[in-house]
């Protein structure tokens, strides 16, 4: 018995020629099942399909084959797009989890240290974190040393994870990552939930992604509008004088909306667009 994409043929009889679907999905499944199964692969003779009555003529053969191939391609493309952004979202959430874990342990470590050194206080003269950890490491008793070791490990893991996320972001969202950095782009994606949602958002939404509490407080009439959400993390926004931050965030969000659509529909970097966008954003931060 010979197996083909259009069916299995025994002699001059086609055993499963009734394998027919309007969009080619059954044939595609069959093709996938037999792909790679034979030790030697041979090209097929289309006449076989004709002889056993599977197809009426050459044109019918090609037409059905095309349907199957279109189905396979479209399925794979959809899978690819859904996979990559899901990966990025999960990775970013993992990064945040590392942060949470590290901060939790650090709090405990400080409490442990305070138990041994009651005179110590972080409130009066707050010490930089790194210096604080260095201080605690000196003569650290067992339990504290154990915690500090874990914190060290989490710190290193966090750095590596951030690199991964950045890299992944520049693959999934090349233009957006160039504009705001991989991490911010990834966080925007997490806020949006999926790349399909993100690409449909107007720039006003992108501007305040991450400021949900502030946004709804404003909507309810309790506060003025939030000017930025995650975008605040971009240096051009938080480094700008306070009164210009809103403007920078607005311009940045507008360019980002274009960048996201470029990423989704084209998938490759557009240096010309990035240059122009950069100039606009810089101008927005300058005195008018």
């Amino acid at each position: 018995m010979q197996r083909y994409w259009f069916g299995d043929v025994e002699g001059s009889e086609c055993l499963s020629c009734t394998l027919r679907s309007s969009d080619g999905r059954i044939e595609a499944a069959h093709a996938a099942a037999i792909a790679g199964t034979s030790v030697e692969c041979h090209p097929i003779q289309w006449d076989v399909a004709h002889a056993c009555g599977c197809v009426s003529d050459r044109s019918d053969y090609l037409s059905r084959l095309r349907k199957v191939c279109f189905f396979i391609a479209q399925t794979r493309i959809a899978a690819h797009f859904s996979r990559l952004d899901v990966d990025l979202i999960q990775q970013t959430k993992s990064l945040d989890a590392l942060d949470v874990a590290r901060n939790l342990l650090l709090e405990r470590a400080i409490d442990l240290y305070r138990a041994e050194n009651p005179s110590f206080s972080q409130k009066i003269h707050p010490m930089h974190e790194r210096k604080l950890i260095g201080l605690m490491l000196q003569d650290a008793p067992g339990p504290l040393a154990i915690l500090l070791e874990e914190i060290e490990g989490l710190t290193r893991a966090r750095v590596r994870m951030a690199e991964f996320v950045s890299e992944m972001a520049s693959e999934v969202l090349p233009n957006s990552s160039s504009l705001v950095g991989g991490l911010v782009a990834a966080r925007l994606l997490v806020e949006a939930g999926a790349i399909d949602s993100l690409v449909r958002m107007p720039s006003a939404t992108i501007q305040v992604l991450g400021a949900r509490k502030a946004l709804f407080a404003h909507i309810k009439g309790e506060a003025s509008s939030p000017k930025h959400g995650i975008l605040f993390q971009h240096s051009r926004v938080h480094n700008a004088p306070t009164r210009f931050r809103g403007r920078v965030a607005r311009v940045l969000a507008a360019q980002l909306a274009i960048a996201i659509r470029l990423d989704y529909y084209r998938g490759s970097s557009d240096p010309e667009f990035l240059q122009k966008a950069d100039r606009r954003i810089i101008r927005a931060g300058e005195r008018s």
Binding site: W5, A35, P43, L62, C69, S268
Partner: protein, 200 residues
């Protein structure tokens, strides 16, 4: 091949990628398409309307569309999702293109879809280009032709293009009859085309 003055053209539905139109014919730009460059340099197999072609590395489908204008059917193999989306668009209009989303280095995974072809055209920028051309040789008819575009920078950017061409010729010569090799200057830098015949 159809020539209008110095321009290589093909006859088919226009507007695939913004190509120039000359008296209703689509201009096939040698600076854009390496196959067109081969024809402009006086080499290459004549494309006939009863031919079946296997195109490895079909990308966005620009060269595919021109080939499809000439031949009976083009089996276009492309692996990357984004170019494939464009290729599907091209294939929706040109119904003699069979778009196959697969890894050209794994012919065993798409052999169940292919017939024997008269010509294999390969334009894949990978270090193992020659090996891919050899693995796909099973689809070639007796006396069929292989046209392999060699992007020397993709094989090894550190070494001389001439050395890489010579090495690749030697590798291919074990499985094919290498007829000719030519550099694609002035149309494409550091690219060569190796023309072979099937040994069957």
């Amino acid at each position: 091949m159809i020539w209008m003055g110095n321009a290589l053209v093909s006859k088919g539905v226009s507007g695939v990628y913004g190509e120039r139109i000359l008296a209703g014919y689509r201009v096939w730009d040698p600076f854009r398409s390496k196959l067109a460059a081969i024809y402009h340099l006086g080499k290459g197999t004549e494309l006939k309307d009863d031919m079946k072609i296997l195109y490895l590395g079909a990308a966005h489908g620009t060269t595919v569309s021109h080939i499809a204008d000439y031949v009976e059917v083009v089996y276009a193999v492309e692996f990357a999702p984004r170019p494939m989306q464009d290729l599907l668009q091209v294939a929706r209009i040109r119904t003699n293109i069979v778009p196959i989303m697969a890894d050209a280095s794994r012919p065993d995974l798409y052999a169940c879809l292919l017939e024997e072809v008269d010509l294999i055209y390969q334009d894949i920028a990978q270090p193992k280009q020659a090996e891919i051309a050899i693995a796909n040789g099973i689809f070639l008819k007796k006396n069929g032709m292989l046209v392999m575009i060699l992007k020397t920078r993709s094989v090894d950017v550190r070494r001389l293009p001439e050395t890489i061409l010579a090495e690749t010729r030697a590798i291919l010569n074990r499985h094919y009859n290498v007829l000719d090799a030519l550099w694609l200057d002035p149309y494409h830098r550091d690219h060569a085309a190796i023309l072979c015949e099937a040994i069957k």
